[in-house]
C-alpha cells in the first residue's frame, strides 16, 4: 500500500492495510513459536517479523499524520518581520544578522527572498526589517520562528569587553491577498509624501513613500524603500493583507489548534524562544531544549534545520497525542 493511494482514501486504505499487516505479524509469531527445532526458520521468521513490526509502526504514524488537522496556512508564503528589541545598537546589529540568516536559509531552500523594507540604525544595523519569502511550504517551515531571539555577546561598541544580552523579535505571518481578507478600497486611506506644493508636473521628487491606513482596524503600514510609488504601495498592501489575515486567523482558529501552537510556544510573540550565545558558540532553542554548538552554521542558515525539524516533529507529536487522547 503506497502513501499516495493512502492519501486518496486515508480511512479505508488504512484499515485494510493495518489488518493485513496484523495477520502477517500474527502468523510470523506463531511460526516462531512452532519452529523451536528449526533454528534457521526461526531466525528468518523473526527477521521478517521485526521488519513487519517496524513497517507497521511507520505505517501507523503515516496514517495518523494523514488524519491530523492541517494548518491551512502551511503552504502559504510568508512575511518575515524582524525588529530590534532591548539592547540599542547591539540589538539592531543582531537584528541584521538574524534577517540575513533567514535570507541565506531561504536561498538554500530555493525560496524567493525579497526585502520589502529596512529601517537602518546609526551603525547600519536594522531597527526593523521586513521581507517577503515565497516558495514551497514556506510558512510551515518558518512558523515556529516567531518569538524573541536573544543574543549574548560582546558588542562591537563595548570597550570593556563585557558580554551584553539583547533581544530581537521575529514575526512570521502567512501571506494573503486582498480577496483572502476581503479588503475593500473604501476601507483604505493612502497617504503619500507631500512636498506641500502643487505636485504633478510642478514637482520632481524621488520620494515615493506610501502609507496605507486600514481604517476599520487602524493598522498602518508605511513603505519607502522602493523606487516607485506603485511598488511602495504594492508592498505596503502585501504586508497589510498579511496582518489582517493573521488577526482573522487567530480569532477563527479552533481552540485545539490554538492550544497546539501554545504548547510549542509560538502563540505568543513575546515569548523567548531561542538564545544565541557567542562566547560559548552555542544556540539553544528553549522550546525543544535543543542546543547546537555551531553558532556560525546556524547564522549562515546551514544549521537552522536542526531546530526547524525538531519543532515540526514536536508539532506532529503533540498533534498525535492530542488526537489519540480525544
Amino acid at each position: 500500500m503506497t502513501v499516495n493511494s493512502l492519501k486518496n482514501h486515508p480511512h479505508l486504505a488504512g484499515e485494510i492495510c493495518v489488518t493485513l499487516n496484523w495477520q502477517e505479524i500474527k502468523e510470523l509469531k506463531s511460526v516462531i513459536s512452532e519452529c523451536e527445532d528449526d533454528k534457521d526458520m526461526q531466525q528468518m521468521a523473526s527477521e521478517v517479523l521485526s521488519e513487519a513490526t517496524e513497517g507497521e509502526k511507520k505505517f501507523q504514524v503515516l496514517l495518523l499524520k494523514s488524519l491530523l488537522p492541517k494548518d491551512d496556512a502551511d503552504e502559504r508564503d510568508c512575511i518575515l518581520e524582524v525588529r530590534a528589541g532591548t539592547g540599542g545598537e547591539e540589538a539592531s546589529l543582531f537584528a541584521m544578522d538574524i534577517f540575513k540568516m533567514y535570507e541565506k536559509y531561504s536561498v538554500k531552500k530555493g525560496w524567493k527572498y525579497e526585502v520589502l523594507e529596512v529601517a537602518e540604525s546609526d551603525l547600519k544595523g536594522y531597527k526593523e526589517a521586513i521581507a517577503s519569502i515565497s516558495g514551497t511550504s514556506v510558512y510551515r517551515k518558518l512558523k515556529f520562528e516567531s518569538g524573541i531571539h536573544r543574543v549574548q555577546r560582546v558588542p562591537v561598541t563595548e570597550k570593556a569587553g563585557r558580554v551584553h544580552t539583547s533581544a530581537v523579535s521575529v514575526a512570521i505571518l502567512p501571506q494573503a491577498d486582498q480577496l483572502d481578507v476581503k479588503l475593500r478600497n473604501e476601507d483604505l486611506r493612502i497617504d503619500t509624501y507631500r512636498s506641500g506644493g502643487s505636485g504633478g508636473q510642478h514637482a520632481n521628487t524621488t520620494n515615493s513613500a506610501v502609507r496605507i491606513t486600514h481604517m476599520p482596524s487602524g493598522i498602518t503600514v508605511s513603505i519607502q524603500d522602493q523606487r516607485s510609488q506603485h511598488m511602495n504601495k504594492a508592498k505596503a498592501l502585501k504586508i497589510l493583507c498579511a496582518k489582517l489575515y493573521e488577526i482573522e486567523r487567530l480569532s477563527n482558529q479552533s481552540s485545539r489548534s490554538k492550544l497546539r501552537l501554545k504548547q510549542i510556544g509560538s502563540g505568543d510573540r513575546s515569548e523567548r524562544i531561542r538564545t544565541y550565545n557567542f562566547p560559548q558558540g552555542r544556540v539553544t532553542d528553549h522550546r525543544v531544549g535543543i542546543t547546537t554548538h555551531s553558532i556560525d552554521d546556524v547564522l549562515q542558515g546551514d544549521d537552522l534545520d536542526a531546530f526547524i525539524d525538531a519543532l515540526l516533529l514536536r508539532e506532529e507529536m503533540d498533534a498525535i497525542a492530542l488526537f489519540s487522547s480525544t
Binding site: 505636485g199 504633478g200 520632481n204 520620494n207
Partner: protein
C-alpha cells in the same frame, strides 16, 4: 484602424522620426566595463555623501527641492545603478577585501564625480543623472528633452484598469496616449490590454518619440504600441472614431508659473512638456474638443490636470459646451487629495 498596423513601414520602434535622435542607454543597462579600486570608490562615496549633507534643507526651503536625506537616498540608488559588483562591498569594509581590489562600474569614476556634482550643484534631476525613472513596475529610460513621468500619473493606468474591468470590450480595442513623453502611459496600458488591444502613442517632440520607441522596444511591445510624431490628434486622422480609450497628461502649468518652478523642473525639463499656455488649459481644452470625434460610443477618457481648479473648470466645460457628448464625467483625486484627473465616457 487595423490596416495602419499592417503597413510594413510601421515598425514603430525602429522607424525614426524625421529628426534623428539616438536614445541614451540608462546607466544600469550599460556594461560594467570600467575598473576602479575599492579605495577610490570609497573616496568618491565619502565625497558624494558630504556634498549631499552640505545641502541640509536649503533647497527644500528655497523651492521645495530635495533635502540631504533625499539626496543620500538617491546616492544609494546611483551606486546601485552604477556598480557591476554587488553594492554591499561598499558596506563591508573589513571583510576579506583589501583596498586595492578591483570594482567594476558602468561608467568611469571621473564621470561619477561629474554626475553627482551635476545632481547637487546644478540641480540636474536624479532621473536624468541615471537615465531612468522607476514608474509603476516599469523602469523607463529618460533623458533631457523628455519629461520624467510623475508618481501621480501612475494612477491613470489604474483608472484605465478599472474602466476595462467594468467593460471588457475596452480590453481589445484601440487606445491613444497623447503627448506620450517617455511612453509611460502607453506602455503601462499596453500591458493590461488583451491580445488584440493596441495603443497609439503620439508626441510632438522628436526626443520624446525616440525615447518612447526605445522604451516600447525594451518592454517587447512593438506589436502593441505604435509611436507617432505629430501634434495631438493630427497623426491619428486615419483612426477617427475608432478609439475605445484616450489618455493624456498634457502640459498644464500656466505660463506665468513656469519661472517659479523647482530648479530640477524649471531648469532641466522641457518647457514643451510643461507650459499649458496662459490658463494652463490650452491643450486640455483642445483634447476635450477632439475626444468627441476620436472616441467610439462608450469609449473612455482620462486626462491629468493641474488640480482642483482646472478639473472643475473642465468638467463644467464638458457639461455645458459638449452637452450630450459625454457621460459619467467626474473628477478623481490623487493620493494627496488633489482633484488631479477628469474621466468620463463618450455617450452611446
Amino acid at each position: 484602424m487595423r490596416l495602419s498596423f499592417i503597413r510594413p513601414i510601421s515598425c514603430c520602434a525602429v522607424s525614426s522620426p524625421t529628426t534623428l535622435v539616438k536614445p541614451q542607454t540608462p546607466l544600469f543597462l550599460r556594461p560594467p566595463t570600467f575598473k576602479t579600486t575599492l579605495t577610490d570608490l570609497k573616496k568618491w562615496h565619502l565625497w558624494a555623501k558630504s556634498l549631499a549633507s552640505s545641502v541640509g534643507s536649503a533647497f527644500l526651503n528655497l523651492d521645495n527641492g530635495p533635502d540631504s536625506n533625499q539626496l543620500l537616498r538617491e546616492l544609494n540608488w546611483l551606486i546601485e545603478d552604477a556598480i557591476g559588483t554587488p553594492k554591499s562591498i561598499l558596506e563591508q569594509p573589513h571583510k576579506s577585501r583589501n583596498g586595492n581590489s578591483t570594482v567594476l562600474i558602468r561608467t568611469c569614476l571621473d564621470e561619477l564625480y561629474v554626475l553627482w556634482k551635476q545632481r547637487v550643484e546644478e540641480r540636474r534631476p536624479f532621473q536624468y543623472v541615471v537615465g531612468c525613472e522607476h514608474w509603476r513596475d516599469l523602469v523607463l529610460s529618460v533623458q533631457e528633452g523628455v519629461l520624467i513621468p510623475r508618481p501621480e500619473t501612475e494612477l491613470i493606468v489604474d483608472l484605465v484598469d478599472e474602466a476595462i474591468k467594468e467593460n471588457e470590450e475596452l480590453r481589445d480595442g484601440l487606445w491613444g496616449d497623447l503627448g506620450t513623453g517617455s511612453g509611460a502611459l502607453a506602455i503601462g496600458i499596453a500591458r493590461i490590454l488583451g491580445s488584440k488591444g493596441r495603443v497609439i502613442a503620439t508626441d510632438l517632440s522628436p526626443v520624446a518619440t525616440a525615447v518612447a520607441s526605445y522604451n516600447v522596444q525594451r518592454y517587447d511591445l512593438e506589436e502593441k504600441v505604435h509611436v507617432k510624431q505629430g501634434s495631438w490628434f493630427e497623426p491619428l486622422r486615419d483612426n477617427e472614431g475608432e478609439f475605445v480609450g484616450l489618455v493624456s497628461n498634457p502640459p498644464y502649468i500656466p505660463s506665468k508659473d513656469i519661472g517659479g518652478l523647482q530648479a530640477e523642473v524649471g531648469r532641466h525639463e522641457p518647457r514643451l512638456a510643461l507650459d499649458g499656455g496662459a490658463s494652463g488649459m490650452n491643450d486640455l481644452i483642445h483634447l476635450c474638443d477632439g475626444a468627441v470625434s476620436m472616441l467610439k460610443p462608450g469609449g473612455f477618457f482620462a486626462f491629468e490636470t493641474n488640480g482642483d481648479e482646472q478639473s472643475k473648470f473642465l468638467v463644467h466645460y464638458i457639461e455645458t459646451k459638449k452637452q450630450g457628448s459625454f457621460s459619467k464625467v467626474k473628477m478623481v483625486s490623487d493620493f494627496a487629495g488633489i482633484q488631479r484627473f477628469i474621466t468620463g465616457f463618450r455617450g452611446r
